[in-house]
């Protein structure tokens, strides 16, 4: 996707310099964020960074002290509630209520008529194979089944914006997969999705954009592909066949040998190209001293970037360490 096309696309959610204070503690410090329509947006950050607070503000559960939120270009208002589906991190159901009755109640609170809610619930319950549990009380459900019910009630009214706060924690692997498929399906159908998570693998799998919040401030923001480009360390993994000594001895000084090992893949070496060097030069150098079986760039994982950025940020804020 090219940049011009990206910009012309409207943002569904714009957070503009949002500040939220809780008696002496600043939960959000001028956090801004633009969520393009139709994207899957990852909100990342360590525990207590302020992710849930920001999501609550977008959901109008709490109001910001400063700054504002725009939904589709308009200042967010009560009318937008029905266009949002929210699965909070702290999620539950009324334990003593029957499953079907409860799903119906939550759907009607989101503005669906009784008949329409009934029709859609039937479809979803069938899809998730929990139809037999309609008349059971929630306390009789297993955790996994309760999670399915919660998920259904979040998406049932087919909102334009879906917000999932730590959706994968507490879900078993089968349901995580189910959830991922559904999230991608909803993206396909045109919904915009914001989710916060610690699970970096799922970020790489699902997200187009991210914002990384640390200690109430935005520390990293943008398209995933751009961020990875920015954080690439010029590291390459070479799988070769030949003499170890010859390789380590024969490398040009512009290339730094980081690690050598022998494993199931064969002989491997990790090499970093120093500032200004090019991968082509490295290949030429390697050809002279060994036989190359494979050559690939090591791209930083989101996990590495996350840890690096958070560590850098906390060093900056605390000069003593």
């Amino acid at each position: 996707m090219n940049r011009a096309c990206e910009l012309s696309k409207a943002n569904l959610i714009t957070a503009d310099a949002v500040v939220k204070d809780f008696s002496g503690h600043r939960a959000l410090d001028h956090v801004s964020m633009e969520v393009p329509e139709g994207s899957v947006y990852g909100l990342l950050g360590p525990n207590g960074a302020g992710k849930t607070t920001l999501l609550r503000i977008i959901n109008q559960i709490t109001a910001p002290d400063e700054g504002s939120i725009y939904f589709d270009g308009e200042p967010i208002s009560q009318d937008h509630r029905l266009m949002i589906g929210y699965l909070p991190e702290e999620r539950g159901l009324y334990k003593k209520m029957k499953v079907g009755e409860q799903a119906l109640y939550l759907a009607r609170l989101k503005g669906l008529s009784k008949a329409e809610a009934m029709k859609r619930l039937k479809v979803w319950f069938e899809k998730f194979e929990i139809g037999a549990w309609w008349d059971k009380k929630v306390e009789e459900l297993s955790k996994g089944m309760a999670q399915k019910v919660q998920f259904i009630t979040t998406v049932l009214h087919e909102p334009k914006l879906l917000i999932f706060d730590e959706p994968f924690t507490g879900f078993d692997p089968i349901n995580v997969n189910l959830l991922k498929q559904e999230i991608l399906q909803m993206k396909e159908n045109g919904a915009t999705i914001i989710f916060s998570t610690h699970n970096m693998a799922s970020v790489e799998e699902l997200c187009d954009h991210i914002t990384l919040i640390n200690a109430s401030e935005t520390v990293l923001q943008g398209e995933i592909s751009e961020i990875r480009e920015k954080y690439r360390a010029n590291k390459y993994l070479v799988t070769y066949k030949g003499d170890k000594e010859k390789l380590s001895g024969g490398l040009n000084s512009r290339f730094e040998l980081l690690q050598m090992e022998e494993n199931g893949m064969g002989q491997q070496a990790t090499i970093r190209i120093q500032e200004g060097g090019r991968s082509g030069d490295l290949i030429r150098n390697l050809l002279e001293i060994t036989e190359i079986k494979a050559f690939q760039e090591i791209l930083p994982s989101m996990n590495d970037i996350f840890i690096q950025v958070v560590n850098d940020a906390s060093k900056k804020s605390d000069p003593n360490t």
């Binding site: 709490t62 109001a63 702290e90 539950g92 009324y94």
Partner: protein, 456 residues
């Protein structure tokens, strides 16, 4: 359908379908009746055992000697018999007293007139009733003896003449000059019952609101709900829904009680409807019937009492009574329910609520105490002020109203309650919407006070 009414509907339906609600609704009137009747039943049960008290009268002042031997001057009651035994030392009973079948031994020393004390011996604790009866009877007897010692002529006749028992009947004049019999006891009882019902209603259903809020917090459904509706809507929906549950229960109790009373009335006082009480009162007072009750009334004392109660009930303006009861009932509940909702929002589980509940219900308990004093002096300064303060007025005003309260006082008290309810609900809403999303916070009023200043 609006979201608030959806919430009200859910709160109401889930509650009235609970087994405990159905059971309480049906059993309520019977439990109340049992509370009144069972102690009465036991009180009458207790005396059915015939007790024989042996009297050793060293003073000889309390014994009369007739052809059948000595008898005690204090007369026997239905279940208490006295037997004078002469010339036997008290020690003879010491051993094996239980085998004799006597209840106790009353020893009257020879110097009773100066010492003014006698002794009761028994192997068991002598009941209050027996002791009291003997004490009262001996007091009277000794008073008579002492008076007789003064050698006043015709003292016996004088004493008989002096002995009086006064009965007072309250007649109320209505504005149009009619007379109505009223019994202060019944009026107090009605007010007391009304105040007490309001107290229990507030406490019981207020706690239900609190528990409902805690349930939403602990089950973690709260955040899902408040992403769909405003916290204030949720709070009000819950308060109204629970309140309607309470009113429904109350209505069922009223209907069942009415049926119960009608049934009992038909079973035990079938003549009641044939004698309009007003007529009896009028003829009694104005047509010469001064002290002697008519033969008809003597015939059934119970019927007389029941008639008096029903006459008193008629003297209370039912419309005003029910209207004001409902007003204080509903708005008293609404005022306190908002506070209970805040307590629920401030804690993570029910065990943490204790320290927060106490300061909230303290005014209500104070109201009960003032209500008790108001029953004796409904127009005093204390009942007046406490029937104005909105936190106590629902309880205190209820006991004053049957005695008749100037309309401006009711209006003032009512508007103060209404205004405080609105203000309190607004403040409570602010604390509530922060509290419901807080977990693991120290639950104190200081913390709640902090929440009031958060933007939302």
């Amino acid at each position: 359908m609006s979201k608030t009414s959806l919430i009200i509907q859910r709160e109401y339906l889930t509650r009235i379908r609970k087994r405990s609600f159905i059971i309480m609704s049906i059993l309520g009137p019977f439990i109340f009746a049992a509370y009144v009747l069972i102690p009465m039943y036991f009180a009458t049960m207790e005396d059915k055992d015939e007790k024989t008290v042996v009297v050793i009268d060293d003073s000889k002042l309390f014994s009369e000697y007739g052809p059948e031997g000595a008898s005690f001057v204090i007369s026997d009651t239905e279940y208490m018999k006295f037997k004078v035994i002469d010339g036997v030392p008290i020690e003879t009973f010491k051993q094996g007293f239980d085998a004799t079948g006597y209840y106790a031994v009353l020893f009257i020393p020879s110097n009773i007139l100066s010492s003014e004390s006698s002794l009761i011996y028994s192997t068991k604790q002598t009941s209050m009733e027996v002791t009291d009866y003997i004490r009262r009877s001996m007091e009277t007897e000794i008073e008579h003896l002492k008076l007789a010692n003064h050698d006043i002529q015709g003292i016996e006749e004088i004493l008989a003449d002096v002995e009086t028992s006064i009965s007072i009947r309250n007649i109320k004049w209505t504005k149009d000059g009619k007379t109505q019999e009223s019994n202060t006891g019944v009026i107090m009882g009605i007010g007391y019952l009304g105040g007490l019902l309001i107290f229990f209603f507030i406490f019981f259903f207020g706690s239900q609101v609190m528990r409902g809020v805690i349930e939403e917090k602990t089950s973690r459904i709260i955040e899902v709900i408040v992403s769909s509706v405003k916290p204030f809507q949720l709070m009000m929906g819950k308060i109204v829904g629970v309140g309607l549950t309470g009113l429904t229960q109350f209505l069922i109790w009223m209907v069942l009680s009415a049926l119960l009373i009608t049934g009992l009335k038909a079973a035990f006082f079938p003549e009641m409807n044939q004698t309009p009480t007003e007529q009896v009162v009028t003829s009694d007072l104005f047509e010469g019937g001064v002290s002697n009750p008519s033969g008809q009334m003597l015939a059934s004392e119970e019927q007389d009492v029941a008639q008096e109660i029903f006459a008193s009930l008629k003297s209370i303006n039912a419309g005003i009574m029910i209207g004001s009861f409902l007003f204080y009932f509903i708005f008293g509940y609404l005022l306190y329910a908002a506070m209970f909702a805040v307590i629920g929002s401030a804690v993570d589980n029910e065990t943490d609520t204790q320290q927060l509940i106490l300061p909230v219900i303290l005014p209500l308990i104070l109201g009960i105490y003032v209500m008790l004093s108001a029953m004796n002096n409904p127009d005093g300064a204390l009942p007046f002020w406490f029937s104005m303060i909105p936190f106590t007025s629902p309880v205190v005003m209820m006991v004053r109203i049957p005695f008749g309260v100037p309309w401006w006082q009711v209006a003032l008290s009512g508007s103060l309650l209404l205004g405080t309810f609105l203000g309190m609900t607004w403040v409570a809403g602010k604390a509530y919407r922060t509290g419901i999303l807080m977990y693991g916070k120290k639950n104190s009023f200081k913390e709640i006070w902090k929440w009031l200043r958060y933007t939302s």
